[in-house]
Symmetry: C2
Subunit: 263 residues, 2 copies
DNA sequence: CGAGGCACTCCCGATGAATGGGAGGGTGGA
DNA sequence: TCCACCCTCCCATTCATCGGGAGTGCCTCG
């Protein structure tokens, strides 16, 4: 019967962010609760996963929905909005690369008949822009828009070997988590591997990511000759690598040429 | 020689946002300064275009750069970050549609030999997800991730005709800006046109967008039978439309079927 | 049919992070 | 040398943001 509850005296409120993160940071935290496998969730879930109080999460999610960065489906669940996709197409940079690479990736795929993928460097990780597979392709945990650590994947090793020195510093001085027993997790071992990659012009990573498969990657250059991406295939662990290496180098050169690189 | 300038007495500072917009809003304002044709800009430019004070713009841009939503190139100019593309791939929704539609769009393209495009409804506009063209295709101002108003484009008319009633209310009661002399800009004319579209099952828009071309669009249904997209082609203004209409209907039906729609 | 769980909205006092004007540095072109 | 431009830094002010908590509505389960 008491419609009005006594307002708590211990009211202990806050302003802006008590945890010391900026508005931008919380926004990204919210967007980051979406993963390749979890593409819809309730606002409450988002709050839980991002570590934000429920009421705060609801407020921000609602704002994002009105701006179109997020969307609600029929059941009021939340997913990433088309607005975000639209904005992402403005980042022509990498999409131009993808466009240029596609035909040659298809050639590699049709000749090697295993997973063929294209990765770029993104915030100290290898980000996979595209991946072609055929039904008979073997195991491969990569997915489009997925990431792998630089020191463990063949693509990553290429990006690292031909990347800026400060990147190498940073990565080699961080923890090199092993994914399998074969993964290089010692800085010196990685350093030696990088020298080998530079010398050979490609990286071979047998069992680094998964025991059963070997990654092979070659650098892709833009018109200025800078290495901007890695083109790779994933073979069964015991497969012959020479043919794949050859095809990768050929495709890399063709991509670079179609981007305007000469010699 | 005077190292220290007298601090202005009229100092008239603010906190948070004096203009009354939320942090989210300013963020979107900043992202929106990127357009399909302007994909790189300086932080100062962003400030100017978004109407934010330079120092504020710089601060926010820097935050966005560290979170990866924006990136800087060699010359410190700013562009949309790959992080955003990555997030956008989580919005499987429309990308699934695009995936399903691609093969059939290619068939239409190869048979009609004119621009073939796929649009969805997004914030009261037609947003183009994909567009196939051949060298011999005629004029067409549409671009991937571009938008057109609902009342003026054939795709838009389809999305409007088969869309929710409140959408029709909203659009018809807003200003219907004409793009050419042929564009329908009178609410009643549009209403009659929508009735026609529903009756025929497709929209024909001669010269509404550009004097020289005619847009033709058919609705695409998802597994529940709801219209979720419009498939369209752009013909020269005087071209025969029957064959294109037929092909569009056939492709629409095939797309719906591959999405799981029956009958 | 009531209890408990869950998602969400609304309210509101407190507050500190965000704000923006302006100074100053650095660079490049005329 | 000057001007134009981009950017960083500083700091007093202040208002939008924050979040605990209450309330609502909708489930499901016992």
């Amino acid at each position: 019967m008491n419609g009005r509850v006594e307002r708590s005296v211990a009211a202990w409120s806050m302003a802006n962010s008590p945890t010391g993160d900026s508005a931008t940071e919380r926004l990204v935290r919210i967007l980051d609760t979406f993963t390749p496998t979890r593409t819809v969730q309730t606002a409450t879930e988002i709050g839980r996963r991002s570590g934000l109080p429920s009421s705060t999460a609801h407020r921000i999610v609602n704002e994002l929905v009105t701006t179109g960065l997020l969307e609600r489906d029929e059941e009021r669940r939340v997913r990433i909005g088309m607005r975000l996709w639209e904005l992402s197409t403005r980042s022509s940079q990498a999409l131009r690369l993808r466009q240029a690479a596609m035909p040659f990736m298809e050639r590699v795929q049709s000749r090697v008949r295993e997973h063929t993928q294209l990765a770029i460097l993104e915030q100290d990780e290898a980000l996979f822009l595209e991946r072609l597979s055929s039904p008979e392709s073997g195991s491969n945990i990569t997915r489009v828009a997925g990431r792998l650590p630089l020191h463990a994947s063949s693509s990553g090793l290429v990006l690292l070997a031909f990347g800026p020195p400060d990147l190498q510093e940073r990565v080699l001085s961080s923890r090199l988590a092993p994914l399998t027993r074969a993964t290089l997790s010692d800085p010196d071992a990685v350093r030696r591997k990088l020298a080998e990659v530079r010398k050979l012009g490609h990286a071979i990573a047998p069992g680094y990511i998964e025991e059963v498969s070997t990654g092979i990657a070659a650098p892709v250059r833009d018109e200025t000759g800078r290495v901007i991406a890695a083109l790779s295939v994933v073979l069964p662990r015991d497969a012959e690598t020479d043919f794949a290496v050859l095809e990768l180098h050929r495709a890399s050169a063709d991509i670079a040429r179609s981007l305007g690189y000469h010699s």
